[in-house]
Symmetry: C2
Subunit: 693 residues, 2 copies
C-alpha cells in the first residue's frame, strides 16, 4: 500500500447532532423582549457604525488583514506578518483617506499590535505634546511621514513604576552643547519598549538630566538609535528584542543601552522645561496640573475599552453556552424532534452565575467610560476658565477605575474561557491569545496595585476635609456626597425587608456609598489615631479604592439609564442588568457590607436569593444582550462565538488548516517512531497488526 503524504486532512461531510447551533441561537434571539439593534445604535451612534461597516468592507478583502492563520503563527512569523500589515495599513490609510476614527476602528478590528504600534501610540503623541515648534518640524513631521520610526523608552530592566528611580543619565556637555546619554549599569538598560526590538530608528528616552553637576531627575530626549541608511545600530548603542512574552508576540518589545552616547541639544524635548545652551541653566516647567488632564483622558479611554474586552469574552462564552449541550436536566428535560435532548449549559444556574454578571459588567464599563469622558470634557472646559476644582476627584476616580476595570476584564476573559469547558482551551475559541494579549493592560499606564494608592490618598484627604467641614457636596463630586451622608449617620441601616426591595436603585446606591465611606473612615482612623503605618495598611488601602470605584461603576450605570433615550423594553432589560451588576458586586464584597454594619445577615440571605432570581429573569435576554455589542465575526475570530452558532463546523474547518494536518505522516516518524514499531515487525502488507497469541 502506498499513500500520498501531501494530502491534507479533510473531514467527512457530516452534520453535528441536532439541534444544531444555528437553530438554538435563532431560538435564543426569538426569546428577547427588546431589539438589540436599537441598543447597538444607542451605544455606538449610527455615524460610528457606518464607519465600522465601511472599513470592515475594505479590510476583509485585504490579504495582510486576513486572520485565517493567526493562531498557527510562530513568533518569527507573527513579526514578519505584522510588518507587512504595517506597510499595507499605511498605504490603505492614504488610499482611503482614513481619519483618526477610521484608523482606530481598523486597529480595533485587526486586534493585533505590530512593530509600528508604538510609533503611532506613544512616539507621535509624545512628540506632539512635549516638543517646541522647532522640534515638531524636526521630529514630528518626518515621523508622520514614517521617515523616522520611533518608540518610547522609559522602563528599565531594574525599574518600572518608580520613575524617579531610573538610572539612565543625560549629562549636558556645555563645550559642545550636547547631551551624553549613558547606561551606567546592567539594570539601567531600557527594557520593554514596543517597536524598539527591530523597528525603531529613534526612541524617546527618559533619562536623568544632569547639568552643572545637578541631577534633575528623568526628562525626555529624542534619540536616534539605528542608521537611517541601513538600519544597523549606531556606534555606542546596544539594542535588540527582549524575547518571547506571555502574549503580545507580534510586537518587538526591545532593550537599548547607551555607552556615553552623544545627542545634540535639540534632542531634549523642551515644551515644558529647558536647558539653556552654553550655560546649561535649567528652566523649570510651569504648573504641571494641565498634564493631569491627559492622564485622565488615557485612563478613561482604557475604561471605555474594557467594555469591548468584556463584551467580546461574554459574546463568545454566552453564544457557545447556548449551543453547547451537556447532561439532561431531569427536573426540566428539553425535547426536540420528539426526543429528549441534552440541556444547553446556559440553562444551568451555575453557568448563568458565571456569565451573566460578566455581561452586566461590560455594560457597567460602557456607561462608566462614557461618564468619565463627559467629566473629562467638562473638566477641560473648567480648567480653561482657571477652575481646577474637578481635577483631583476625576484623576483619583479614573486611576482607581483603570485599576479595577482592567482587572475585572482580565478575570472576565479567563472566566469566560474556562466557562467554555475543554474547547475554551483551544486557541480556536478566540479567548486564549486574547487573554494573553490583553494582560499588559493591568501593568501599563500605571500598575494596578500602585494606582489604587493614589486613589486612596485622595479619598482619605477628602474624608479629612469633610470631617473638618472644609468640603461640601457638589453636583459633580459624589465622593464628598457619600462621605457627608455617612458622617451624618454612621449607624444607618439598610431598609431592605424583602428580596424585591433590592431592586430600588436608591437603596443600592446608598449601600455602596455607605460601605465606601465606612472603609475610608476605618483606614483614616487607623492611620490618624492608631499610629498604623501606610505600609502596614496597604491591603485595606487597596480595598478602599475598590469600594469607591465599585460605587462609581454602579452609580454611572444606574444614572445613565435615567436619561437614556431608549425604548421602554430596552430600558427595562438594562435596568435589571444594572441591578444584577450591583447585587452581584455586593455579594462578592459581602463581608465588607456586613462589617460596615449596614447590611445584616437576613438581608444578606435575601440578597443572594435576589441574585439567583435575576439570573432567571435575564436568562432569555442573554444572547440579544451580547448581540447588541455588535462585535463582527472578523473581530472575534472565534469558532465558538460566531454569530451563526455553527461552532462545530467552524472548529473542523479551522482544524483542517493546522500545519500538522497538511501531511498524512508526521516528519518525526522516520527517526522516532518507525525504528520502535518496526523492531516488532508484526504487521502484514497493509500495515495491519497481525500478532496472534
Amino acid at each position: 500500500m502506498s499513500f500520498d503524504n501531501n494530502v491534507p486532512t479533510t473531514f467527512p461531510k457530516l452534520e453535528p447532532r441536532g439541534p444544531g447551533g444555528p437553530f438554538l441561537l435563532a431560538q435564543e434571539r426569538a426569546k428577547a423582549t427588546f431589539d438589540p439593534k436599537e441598543l447597538t445604535s444607542f451605544m455606538y451612534g449610527d455615524e460610528w457604525l457606518a464607519k465600522l461597516d465601511k472599513v470592515l468592507n475594505v479590510i476583509t478583502n485585504e490579504p495582510t488583514f486576513d486572520k485565517t492563520d493567526r493562531y498557527f503563527e510562530s513568533r518569527e512569523k507573527k513579526i514578519a506578518t505584522s510588518y507587512q500589515h504595517d506597510r499595507r495599513f499605511f498605504e490603505l490609510s492614504k488610499e482611503h483617506k482614513w481619519d483618526e476614527t477610521d484608523k482606530n476602528i481598523v486597529n480595533f478590528l485587526y486586534d493585533q499590535s505590530t512593530p509600528f504600534s508604538l510609533h503611532y501610540g506613544m512616539f507621535i503623541p509624545t512628540l506632539r505634546s512635549q516638543t517646541t515648534d522647532e522640534q515638531k518640524k524636526l521630529f514630528l513631521e518626518p515621523a508622520l511621514r514614517h521617515e523616522i520610526i520611533g518608540c518610547y523608552a522609559q522602563t528599565e530592566l531594574g525599574h518600572g513604576s518608580n520613575v524617579q528611580g531610573l538610572e539612565t543619565t543625560a549629562t549636558f556637555i556645555p563645550e559642545t552643547n550636547e547631551f551624553e546619554i549613558h547606561s551606567p549599569t546592567l539594570t539601567s538598560a531600557k527594557w520593554w519598549s514596543g517597536g524598539l526590538g527591530t523597528a525603531a530608528n529613534h526612541a524617546i528616552v527618559m533619562a536623568r538630566l544632569i547639568t552643572n553637576g545637578k541631577d534633575l531627575g528623568p526628562h525626555p530626549f529624542c534619540v536616534q538609535i539605528r542608521s537611517l541608511k541601513d538600519h544597523s545600530p549606531l556606534p555606542g548603542i546596544t539594542v535588540g528584542d527582549i524575547g518571547p512574552k506571555f502574549g503580545f508576540n507580534s510586537v518587538d518589545n526591545g532593550f537599548v543601552m547607551f555607552d556615553h552616547y552623544r545627542v545634540p541639544h535639540v534632542a531634549f524635548l523642551s515644551k515644558y522645561s529647558k536647558v539653556t545652551p552654553g550655560s546649561g541653566e535649567y528652566v523649570k516647567p510651569p504648573n504641571a496640573k494641565l498634564s493631569y488632564g491627559t492622564m485622565v483622558f488615557v485612563r478613561a479611554n482604557i475604561v471605555l475599552g474594557v467594555r469591548y474586552a468584556i463584551a467580546r469574552a461574554a459574546t463568545i462564552a454566552i453564544r457557545y453556552s447556548s449551543v453547547r449541550q451537556q447532561f439532561v436536566d431531569s427536573a426540566n428535560p428539553k425535547k426536540w424532534n420528539n426526543q429528549v435532548i441534552e440541556t444547553p449549559v446556559l440553562d444551568y444556574t451555575m453557568q448563568q452565575y458565571r456569565l451573566l454578571p460578566i455581561l452586566a459588567s461590560a455594560y457597567a464599563c460602557f456607561f462608566t467610560g462614557s461618564e468619565m469622558m463627559r467629566l473629562y470634557e467638562l473638566n477641560q472646559a473648567e480648567m480653561q476658565k482657571g477652575n481646577f476644582g474637578l481635577l483631583a476627584d476625576l484623576h483619583a476616580s479614573s486611576s482607581g477605575l483603570k485599576s479595577l476595570t482592567t482587572t475585572m476584564a482580565v478575570d472576565a476573559i479567563e472566566d469566560c474561557r474556562r466557562a467554555c469547558g475543554g474547547h475554551g482551551y483551544s486557541l480556536f475559541s478566540g479567548l486564549g491569545q486574547f487573554y494573553q494579549d490583553y494582560l499588559p493592560n493591568v501593568t501599563w499606564e500605571g500598575d494596578n496595585y500602585i494606582l489604587t494608592q493614589q486613589t486612596a490618598r485622595y479619598l482619605l484627604k477628602t474624608y479629612r476635609n469633610v470631617m473638618a467641614g472644609k468640603a461640601v457636596p457638589s453636583e459633580h463630586n459624589h465622593t464628598i456626597s457619600y462621605l457627608t451622608h455617612f458622617l451624618q449617620n454612621p449607624q444607618a441601616k439598610c431598609p431592605v425587608k424583602e428580596a424585591n426591595d433590592f431592586m430600588n436603585p436608591e437603596t443600592i446606591l446608598t449601600a455602596f456609598g455607605f460601605r465606601a465611606a465606612y472603609s475610608i473612615a476605618q483606614v483614616a482612623d487607623q492611620l490618624d489615631n492608631k499610629g498604623r503605618s501606610w505600609n502596614s495598611m496597604l491591603v485595606e488601602i487597596h480595598r478602599v479604592s475598590r469600594a469607591h470605584c465599585q460605587f462609581m461603576l454602579v452609580r454611572s450605570f444606574i444614572v445613565a439609564l435615567q436619561d437614556a433615550t431608549l425604548s421602554k423594553e430596552a430600558k427595562n432589560v438594562l435596568r435589571t442588568l444594572a441591578v444584577l451588576f450591583a447585587l452581584n458586586t455586593m455579594e462578592k464584597e459581602l463581608s465588607e457590607f456586613i462589617l460596615s454594619g449596614y447590611i445584616n445577615a437576613e438581608q444578606s440571605t435575601l440578597l443572594k436569593q435576589q441574585v439567583i432570581h435575576l439570573l432567571d429573569v435575564l436568562r432569555p435576554q442573554a444572547v440579544a444582550l451580547v448581540d447588541a455589542f455588535a462585535l463582527p465575526d472578523y473581530y472575534l475570530h472565534s469558532a465558538l462565538g460566531r454569530y451563526d452558532g455553527d461552532v462545530y463546523k467552524a472548529m473542523t474547518a479551522m482544524v483542517e488548516r493546522e500545519p500538522l494536518n497538511q501531511t498524512k505522516v508526521v516528519s518525526s516518524y522516520d527517526a522516532c517512531i518507525k525504528p520502535l514499531v518496526h523492531a516488532g515487525r508484526r504487521f502484514n502488507e497493509n500495515g495491519i497488526y497481525t500478532a496472534k497469541l
Copy 2:
C-alpha cells in the same frame, strides 16, 4: 559604513545596580530561624532526594533534555523536539534501568508532555486494568516494547463530562465476530486525545456497545488507527491534530472519525463486561465499587501534585520579590553602602498579602495530599476485608479536593506571575508557559465544577443520615463529626476575644467545621423543605463542597504537625504558616463565616488584624520556606526564580539567545522599513539623521 548582519547581540559587561540579587538572597537566608534542609528531607524522604540527584545528573547532560530554547520554540519545533526527547527517554530508561519512581522524577523535572505521554499515562494503564490475560499478551506487552503506540479517545467534539452522551458506536456483527466502530455525526468525532494527532497507531476508543439491537452505553475498545508499516491512517479512518491550544502545544492532541470501521472481537476490553462470541450476549460487570479506589488514587495524586505547582510559582515570585526593589519606604528606609536604597518589594505588606498565603497553601496541599494517600491505603486494606465504609467519604473528599486545589493552583500561578510585575509577562519568568500547561488540570479527571456536585451529594446525604441518627462520628470520618457537633448546638458562637485567640488550632477547626455544617444544613433545608430544585441551587452546592474541602485542608495541615518528627524551630514556623493559611482562607470566605452566625463583626476585625500580623511574623522565613521545596533551577527554568538570585544577568543571557537578536537588522527591513525611511533621504554617509530647520 558597513556591518556584519550575522553578529548576535551581546550585552556590555556591566553589573546590576547594587545590592545585587545574590547579596539580598543571602541576607534572606540568614534571617530564617530553621534549617530548610531538614524540612526538605522531612517532606520528600532522603531516598527520593537521592534519586532526584541521580537522575538530575543524568538528564542535565543530555541534549534532548536541554531547556535552553524551550521558550523560543514554535509549535512545530516543540513537537519535533518532543519526539526526539521521547526516543531518548526510552533509550535512557533502559540504559540506566530507571524504575517507575525514577521515570516519574525525570518527567517531573523535564516538565513538558510529549506525543508519547499518553501512551504511558493512559494507554498502558488502561490496558493493565481493563484487559483479560489474552488481551494483555496481545496489546499490553507490545505496547511496553513500543511496538504499538497508543492513546485514549473518550471525549468527543460535542461531548465531554457527560460520558453517557457519547455518540460513537461499536456494533457487534455476529456473522464475523467483529465490532463495527462508527462516527454517525460531526459531533461524534473523538477529540482532544493526546498522542492521537500524529503519534499513535492504536487508540482506546470509548464507544457505545450495541449488540442484538441493544445500546449498552460506552465501553472501551482497543483500535488500530494507523498502519504499522508506514504510519498512514488506515482506510475508514480520518485522523489528525486538533490544532494549537492555549498551552500543552508539545502534545499532538488529536481527533479521529470512523466510517463503519471493523475491529476483531478481541478489541473489546473484557476484564469486566463481556460480549459472547457468536451470540453477542452481553455479560454485565461485577460490582464497580473497587474501581472507585483508582479514582481516589488519581485524584489524591493530583492534590499531591498541586504542592509542586504552587511551590514552584511561590519560589519564583518570592525569590524575585526579595531581589526586586521599588520605591523607598520612607517610614523604614533601607541602607546599603551608606546609601538609601529602594525597598525589596517583599517588604511591602501588599506583596506579602499576595504571596505568603500562596506559600502556605503549597504546604497545606502537601499535608492534605499525604493524608489522602494514607487514607487511600487504609481504604484499600479495608476494602480487601470487605469493608466499604470509608469509601464514600474518601471519594467525596478527593473529588472536591481535586476541584478546589487545582483551582487554587492555577490562580496561584497567575497571581504569582502578576506579582512579578512587568517581568512576570516575559516567558523567561518561567510562569507564563507554566500557567498555560498546567491549566488542563482544572478540566481533566473530572471538570472542577461538575465534581463539586458529587461531593455535595455525599455531604447532603450524610447530613440527612446524621439528622436521622443513622450516622455516628468515627475516627476516620470527620464529616460526620463536624455535622454532629453542629447539630448539638447550631447557635454556637466563636469564643475569640482578642486577635491572638485565633492562634488556637481547636478554635480554627471548630470554626471551619461549623461553617461547613451550616452551609450543608442551609442547602438541605432549601432542597428538602423549601421546594428548591437542584439546578437553582448549583451556586450554593458548589460553595458547600468548597466549605467542606477547606475544612479538610486546614485540618490536614494542623493535624499533620501534631505528630511530625521535626525540630522545634521548623515546627514553630510551620504552625504559624498553618494558621496563616487557615485565617487567610477564613478572611476570603468571611461572609459565609459571618452568615453562619459563628463569627461576629468584632471578631472579623480581629481576624483581619491577625492575618496582617502573621505576614509580618512569617516575612523573614519566606525564602527559606520556598528553599525547603528544593525545586532545582533546571526544573524552574526561570530567570527570576533562580536559587542564586542573579536575575538580571540571567535575563540578559536568555535575551541574547532570542532568534531576532541573531542578526543586526530584521529581515522585514528591506520590504517594509527601507522604502519609507529612504523616501526622505535625509541622512548622511553614516546613516545619521541630517535634517536641518
